[in-house]
């Protein structure tokens, strides 16, 4: 019975998504006039840029409002229930107390630096350097609708296969070869290291941590609900162009890079969805990555990619910290007791599990067999070390 209900719910969600995606062009969020679809360095430094970025400000403002509203409503609703103590005045006064925190590791610093650098590079890189190379495609959710970046993201052509096949054969081959090459070389490490959409969601998560707000904790049921949505998103991603829709009008990622690059791209459903994603990723880390079609397509090649998560099952105590920390809800990482390789299609190589693992060498992130980041008890306990050590 319960299963039947779940199937129906999934079906309804998928139908809504399909309707939203198909009729996206009829639901405008913010429309630009003719001729604003061009950009230059001059435009970015002029007052006109503010006009282009306006929809982004609207999105951020509405999401911020939404988050505040949700937190308030939650506090109000929960202050009466059985779990009254969950939200009843337990917040710290002006951040006087600090939850124990481990020292920032080199790996995390590099990850953040790379993500920021790549976001800048993907958005303004072309304008700043003048370099343009439309031949190399990287499978990252950073819109290629702007043609001002040094490399292209493959998401445009993957979601517009009908456009791709009208191109000369040479371009098609270059597209597939470069996309596949990056997929195999980096795999989903791109999600954790390069994706601008990922950066925005990680920033939302950082804000939540700074404000010490409760998030949504790991729950199998939630992750299993994501699964049908994810598959349907892939179907939409690839198939929408053939039935006459445009995935870009639907995709929330479009609100990030083209607008920041100074292109006046009219937003349709994607604007509304971005608000939803921003609010969602505030409470649930990397919400969009859980349903991201491009990411999962790349993830399907996880067996051959160079980035791997390795586990030493003999040292694991099954404390489940990795599972709690994992933004993608990969449970096998803590239940696995035989295999040394725990890489999964969902893994975005964010290194969060390795960071939280209190057992020496139990988890490690490797590239081509070389250990990049290894779990150590010393790191996890670093917050508790006596001062004079």
């Amino acid at each position: 019975m319960r299963k039947k209900k779940r199937i129906i719910a999934a079906g309804i969600i998928c139908a809504v998504l399909l309707a939203l995606a198909y009729f996206a062009a009829y639901l405008p969020f913010y429309k630009f006039g003719e001729g604003s679809y061009a950009t230059s360095l001059k435009k970015i430094f002029s007052s006109e840029y503010i006009k282009t970025v306006a929809p982004l400000f609207i999105i951020f403002a509405v999401s911020a409002l939404g988050i505040v509203l949700i937190v308030c409503i939650r506090k109000k609703l929960m202050s009466k229930g059985r779990n009254s103590s969950v939200y009843a005045n337990r917040y710290s006064v002006r951040g006087a107390g600090k939850a124990p925190k481990q020292k920032l590791s080199l790996f995390m610093m590099i990850r953040w630096a790379l993500m920021t650098a790549f976001t800048v590079f993907m958005i303004w890189g072309g304008l700043l350097s003048g370099l343009r190379n439309e031949n190399i495609s990287i499978p990252v959710f950073s819109c290629p609708a702007n043609t001002v970046q040094p490399t292209e993201a493959s998401c445009y052509f993957l979601s517009h296969l009908n456009v791709l096949f009208t191109l000369p054969i040479k371009n098609i081959i270059i597209f597939f070869v470069s996309t596949l090459l990056f997929t195999i070389l980096l795999g989903r490490a791109m999600c954790g290291f390069l994706c601008p959409m990922g950066l925005i969601q990680d920033i939302m998560d950082k804000i939540r941590k700074k404000t010490k707000t409760k998030g949504i904790s790991a729950n199998e049921k939630m992750y299993s609900a994501f699964k049908p949505i994810k598959w349907f998103m892939i179907l939409l991603f690839i198939g929408l162009c053939f039935i006459g829709g445009n995935f870009c009008d639907f995709c929330p990622a479009i609100t990030v890079s083209p607008i920041l690059a100074g292109l006046g791209v009219s937003l349709y459903v994607s604007g509304f969805l971005m608000i939803f994603i921003l609010i969602g990723s505030f409470f649930k880390r990397r919400l969009f990555c859980n349903v991201c079609p491009l990411g999962y397509l790349v993830g399907l090649f996880h067996k051959v990619s160079l980035f791997r998560i390795k586990k030493d099952c003999t040292t694991c105590t099954e404390c489940g910290a990795c599972y709690e920390a994992c933004p993608m809800g990969i449970k096998t990482i803590y239940t696995e007791r035989e295999k040394a390789d725990v890489t999964e299609a969902n893994c975005i190589m964010c290194g969060e599990c390795v960071k939280c693992c209190p057992e020496d060498n139990a988890l490690s992130l490797t590239v081509a067999g070389k250990k990049l980041y290894t779990a150590s008890r010393k790191n996890v306990m670093s917050g508790y070390a006596p001062k004079d050590h």
Partner: protein, 436 residues
């Protein structure tokens, strides 16, 4: 009138006898531990605490205003108790004298631990028990469930439901219980558990865990650095010391151990058989088995019992630094890494044992079963099979808090140690012959 005074007189006599016997046995075991050679410097602090509690019969050494909360299992998060401004004590008892009194109260097949607790509470003479403002009893087995009801006659008791599996929903449920617990603690201590007080408590317990992991690292890196009985005494003393004091005391032990390691000093020059002790909890003063092992020429190189490393080893990992995230970290730490046999599927324990065997170069495993402790007894068969595959000898020692079976145990342990010695590499034997 006369009968009442006679009753009172008898009660006074009984109490006196109880106190005499209790202090005597505790003193005896403390002496035996002290007499074991190779105690590290700084060990005295822990022995003093045990003496303070069991021989001098005092409460836990804390400021007058502070309340103590009794806990019965490692699954009670101590951080919460510290956050409420109280101090947790572990009340699982290993006392022989109290066990005899509890024998008449609890049914014959109840485990000695529960009988001892019932005995202590019945006599009402132990200050550690009497000072407790509340007792928290996680229901990990049938005996614990019933003892919770019995204790309810004497003091405030809160039971905690321990799930049988470790799914996400079970963790959620446990988090809810922790909130209930927080509320109870607040009403007893009068202090509010806030974000600040909870994070301060995390630092307090975390510091103790930090020292413990240093201690275990030292133990692991150079074998024969410390005797297992001493390590177990240190872990037992944790139950009656505030975490920060314990951490400071352990730090001085760590320093002396690291000095030892640098100088290459060892507890013994011989290659004694390395034995892992697992199974039912071994609580002071019921230290007869580790003492026997070490007196018979073995060394307790590791212990996988509740009173040992198990409860302290895994730190709570905060992945969400809100108040609720910290509560979840506590729930997660309490349930998931715990290889307690109360969980239906406990294959985790086998992996844990294998891990300890590898880390501490264990040569034999002694499986301790308290008479009546069914859950541990159930797991013996599977562990014997699994360790058999690794070619590690295992024996099961069933015992209770009686001292009558000491000779029997001695014979069995001696035989077991001889067996391991025989299995040791032949080249060592030839060396001995040459010396002769």
């Amino acid at each position: 009138m006369i009968t009442i005074s006679r009753d009172q007189e008898r009660k006074a006599r009984q109490d006196k006898r109880f106190i005499n016997k209790e202090t005597q046995t505790s003193e005896k075991y403390l002496r035996r531990i002290e007499e074991l050679p190779g105690a590290p410097e700084g060990m005295k602090a822990f022995l003093d605490v045990l003496e303070h509690i069991y021989v001098d019969m005092h409460g836990v050494d804390i400021p007058q205003r502070q309340k103590t909360i009794g806990t019965y299992c490692v699954m009670v998060p101590q951080e919460l108790i510290y956050a409420a401004g109280a101090v947790p004590v572990k009340l699982c008892s290993g006392n022989y004298t109290a066990f005899f009194i509890g024998d008449d109260i609890a049914p014959r097949d109840a485990c000695p631990l529960v009988k001892a607790v019932a005995g202590f509470k019945h006599t009402g003479l132990m200050p550690v028990y009497e000072n407790c403002s509340m007792m928290i009893v996680p229901v990990t087995c049938d005996c614990k469930k019933k003892i919770a009801g019995m204790l309810g006659d004497y003091c405030d008791v809160m039971t905690m439901h321990v799930p049988t599996t470790k799914n996400d929903d079970d963790i959620d449920e446990f988090v809810d219980q922790l909130y209930d617990l927080a509320e109870r603690l607040e009403s007893i201590t009068g202090n509010k558990i806030t974000y600040d007080s909870l994070s301060a408590a995390f630092y307090k317990v975390g510091r103790a865990q930090y020292e413990l992991s240093e201690f275990i690292k030292l133990k692991r890196q150079s074998p024969y650095l410390i005797r297992g009985t001493h390590a177990m005494t240190i872990m037992n003393a944790y139950g009656y010391m505030p975490a920060d004091k314990w951490a400071d005391a352990l730090r001085s032990v760590n320093m002396s151990l690291s000095l030892r390691a640098v100088k290459g000093e060892k507890v013994t020059a011989k290659k004694l058989p390395r034995i892992l002790l697992t199974g039912s909890p071994i609580v002071f003063p019921n230290m007869k088995i580790p003492l026997l092992i070490e007196e018979m020429g073995g060394i307790v190189a590791g212990d996988e019992t509740c009173m040992g490393e198990r409860g302290m080893w895994d730190p709570p990992v905060i992945t969400d630094n809100s108040f609720d995230g910290m509560m979840r970290a506590l729930a997660n730490r309490s349930l998931r890494p715990c290889p307690c046999p109360t969980f239906a599927d406990n294959s985790q324990r086998i992996y844990r044992l294998k891990q300890l065997i590898k880390e501490n170069q264990i040569q034999g495993v002694i499986y301790h079963v308290l008479r009546g402790c069914l859950v541990y007894d159930f797991e013996y068969k599977r562990i014997e099979d699994e360790l058999g595959k690794l070619d590690i000898p295992v024996i099961r020692l069933e015992s209770d808090y009686n001292e009558e079976d000491v000779e029997q145990l001695r014979i069995r342990i001696e035989a077991f140690i001889e067996l391991i010695k025989l299995r040791q590499p032949v080249e060592k034997n030839t060396n001995i012959r040459r010396e002769l």
